[in-house]
């Protein structure tokens, strides 16, 4: 049994233990308007819906593509599946469940189902309470460090998933795979957006 099947089975077991679906949960199920348009390889449907809604709220479509347009959510699920060890995978599932449980407690529903106002309040609360990443030198952290927590960690992961995508890296940011020369001082207006690499 692979990891995802195991999680699904245990989720089913928990559901069974809680008894038949209540009227309220059935109503909530009906209220779910966002159907997943992709099949996660690690996350459950509900967990994947959380990631997709987090990505969409953090990086919505504007004149430039949104996080969902470049499938940042799909990549994050793949990353959980292929780069996290079992302990890390357990932790991320627990973190998603806790995030949603907190949303339910404060706003009455899981994150994906919240109104724009409630999502904004939720993000603002986490921004205010999440420690910051340390500064880095040559890829290594320097100065004071404390764990940034799930919210800021996921935010950073979403940024990576978005900005490392081909659409953003090649077509939105300034893409120059073989610069050929180093010019130390040129007008920003000659370049525009940041270099993608």
């Amino acid at each position: 049994m692979n990891r995802r099947d195991a999680l699904k089975k245990s989720a089913l077991a928990l559901g069974a233990a809680a008894g038949a679906p209540t009227l309220l949960s059935l109503l909530q199920a009906c209220a779910k308007t966002d159907r997943l348009t992709w099949t996660p390889v690690f996350l459950s449907e509900d967990q994947a819906r959380f990631i997709s809604s987090f990505v969409d709220f953090l990086l919505p479509k504007t004149e430039t593509p949104g996080g969902l347009d470049v499938k940042a959510d799909v990549f994050i699920d793949l990353m959980y599946a292929k780069t996290y060890d079992e302990a890390g995978q357990k932790q991320v599932v627990a973190d998603i469940e806790k995030f949603n449980a907190d949303c339910k407690e404060k706003y009455g529903n899981v994150f994906a189902e919240l109104s724009e106002e409630d999502k904004t309040a939720c993000f603002k609360g986490h921004e205010a309470n999440s420690p910051k990443f340390p500064k880095t030198v040559w890829g290594g952290a320097v100065g004071p460090r404390e764990p940034v927590g799930f919210y800021r960690g996921l935010k950073s992961t979403v940024l990576w998933a978005y900005f490392s995508s081909e659409e953003i890296g090649k077509n939105v940011l300034s893409y120059d795979p073989i610069p050929g020369d180093y010019l130390g001082c040129i007008p920003l207006s000659d370049v525009g957006n940041i270099w993608s690499l």
């Binding site: 921004e127 610069p179 180093y182 010019l183």
Partner: protein, 568 residues
């Protein structure tokens, strides 16, 4: 490039054997082959042919399934080297497997190893600086360690020799403590670096800030292309623009027709002939078949990288050398040094918001040592000194993780460059302490049943005092240069993080207190040479690789000359 001759087994006898194919071994092989010696290079890992075996050299992030992320299986292979923060999916194949090659940390020590043809020459930082008599005379003057058996004048022609072939870019300054190399044109400083340079040099008499001197071509040389500013060096460079054994020395050695490389060769020991009173060859274990083979040669160069070289010598016991080859002094394994790492300061620079740069420069700035110079201010808190590396640039989307913002405007704002940031980080000299040591551990064996190393070394009061001053000086320089939001830092890394392991088989004038003589020959077994970092008698505060190159070329030419005189 022609394929390398790897068919070693037909012939068990060579003129010379070189153990290891990294920076120093590559140079030894080139010089020996060019002098006409049939040379066998024994490489612990696989063959890595220039360009052909650089599978990730052109990959953009989205062309890799995990965009550079490592799988748990990959991470599990690097519990020690992974602490460096340098191992990612694009270079993981160039880092040794820690599980197959264990070592024991009596005190914490981070050891980065690269077990393939080219070794760490594929991964190094390319900072290349000459040492000076400030360094070669330091031990004699302040009494720490033993005196170097050479001075700057002895090595100067060999610096010239290797620089002209390796290709070093940089700016000549005429500083006595940091002699100029034969330079290709320097890389450019960016606008903020130029600004900070001007301010520091105005505010502080006797301090200089220059572009790093690096083994990257800024003009084509000997068929190698110039740097294209992709900054993907640790994947292997398709242009051969930076110095590596794979792109530079081994092809030159191969072109003579005198080179044989034998991959998958785990060196067990250097074989000592009791009758002849010298080494007769090298015993290896084939990493794939387990076969035990002895290769014979007139001379042996041990260039396995500092600690592995010493491991081989310690494991090379005989009646004459019961405690390891060349260990009459008892100093083999002792006096391990490194450079301190990640101590300094950073801040932001205002006023250049409409300026940017083009190209990913694999280089930064350098501030040469200015403390405890012959004619400068002397510290009463420490001996020796430190230099700084660093650089400036504009922050990118990565800064978004900390911004208390989200949504469409946030996203589009991250597409524009953020503030200019600038940092400097000190590299302090480490004194040679007898008690900082490695020794054989026969309780922990590697995959091939060989004893491994225990490493027992730590920073002491002088290094901590140097670091303290480097941090304070870094902050003061950035303050007086007008930076904002300045943060000082000292990561207090254990030894090994500098990835500049030096010592453990030091050169010296007296066989009673050193392992090697002034020509890098093992005392008492003069047809064995050690020219990698193990030979270093002190550590200076500047990067050591250029000095390994020069010492290797010098020793190889001495070996050829002695062979001709029938002295070996």
């Amino acid at each position: 490039m022609a394929n390398f001759n790897i068919d070693a087994d037909k012939n068990l006898t060579y003129d010379a054997i070189v153990i290891g194919s990294g920076i120093s071994g590559g140079w030894a092989a080139k010089e020996l082959c060019e002098a006409g010696l049939k040379t066998l290079v024994l490489e612990r890992g696989r063959i890595v042919e220039h360009v052909v075996d650089y599978p990730t050299m052109t990959l953009d992030p989205w062309e890799h399934e995990l965009r550079g992320g490592l799988t748990p299986e990959q991470k599990a292979k690097h519990p020690k080297g992974g602490r460096s923060g340098f191992i990612g999916a694009m270079n993981e194949h160039f880092h040794a497997n820690d599980l197959e090659n264990p070592y024991t940390e009596v005190k914490p020590f981070m050891w980065v190893r690269a077990h393939q043809m080219g070794g760490r020459s594929l991964l190094w930082g390319k900072q290349t600086y000459r040492w000076s008599d400030l360094d070669f005379e330091a031990n004699a003057k302040d009494g720490h360690g033993v005196d170097w058996p050479i001075r700057y004048k002895d090595i100067e022609p060999w610096y010239t020799h290797v620089e002209k072939f390796a290709g070093i870019s940089g700016e000549a300054l005429g500083l006595p403590q940091l002699p100029d190399s034969h330079f290709l044109p320097p890389m450019e400083l960016n606008c903020v670096e130029k600004h900070v340079k001007a301010r520091i040099e105005k505010e502080f008499n006797g301090r200089n800030m220059i572009i790093g001197r690096v083994a990257h071509l800024t003009e084509p040389l000997n068929g190698r292309g110039k740097c294209q500013f992709r900054n993907r060096c640790d994947r292997g460079c398709p242009y051969g623009a930076y110095f590596s054994s794979n792109a530079v020395t081994l092809p030159a050695a191969n072109a003579t027709g005198n080179l044989t490389i034998r991959p998958f060769s785990i060196v067990q020991s250097v074989v000592y002939d009791e009758q002849k009173g010298k080494a007769s060859g090298v015993r290896i274990i084939d990493a794939e078949t387990g076969e035990d083979i002895v290769y014979k040669a007139k001379i042996v160069f041990v260039n396995a990288s500092t600690l592995s070289t010493t491991q081989i010598l310690l494991n090379s016991t005989s009646n004459r050398f019961p405690n390891g080859l060349g260990n009459d002094s008892g100093e083999l394994g002792h006096n391990l040094m490194d450079h301190t790492y990640r101590v300094g300061a950073m801040g932001t620079v205002e006023g250049f918001e409409d300026q940017y740069y083009k190209g990913r420069r694999p280089n930064g700035i350098y501030i040469p040592r200015y403390v405890n110079l012959k004619d400068g201010p002397q510290s009463d808190k420490f001996v020796r000194g430190f230099g700084f590396q660093g650089g400036g640039g504009r922050s990118g989307w990565g800064a978004g993780g900390n911004q208390e913002d989200f949504g469409g405007n946030f996203k589009d704002g991250l597409m524009k460059p953020g503030p200019w940031e600038f940092f400097i980080t000190g590299f302090s000299e480490c004194l040679p302490y007898h008690e900082n040591q490695v020794y054989l551990n026969k309780d922990v064996l590697d995959k091939w049943g060989q004893p491994t190393l225990s490493i027992d070394a730590e920073w002491k009061a002088n290094e901590l005092a140097l670091n303290d001053q480097a941090r304070k000086d870094a902050k003061e320089m950035l303050e007086r240069a007008g930076l904002k939001d300045i943060m000082e830092f000292d990561n207090k890394h254990e030894m090994g993080f500098g990835i500049h392991e030096m010592g453990t088989a030091r050169m010296g004038r007296d066989p009673k207190t050193s392992v090697l003589n002034g020509n890098n020959q093992v005392h008492g077994c003069e047809n064995v040479f050690v020219t990698d970092g193990a030979c270093m008698t002190s550590s200076s505060c500047v990067n050591p690789s250029l000095t390994y190159m020069a010492l290797s070329a010098r020793a190889a030419n001495h070996a050829v000359s002695e062979l001709k005189k029938m002295n070996l």
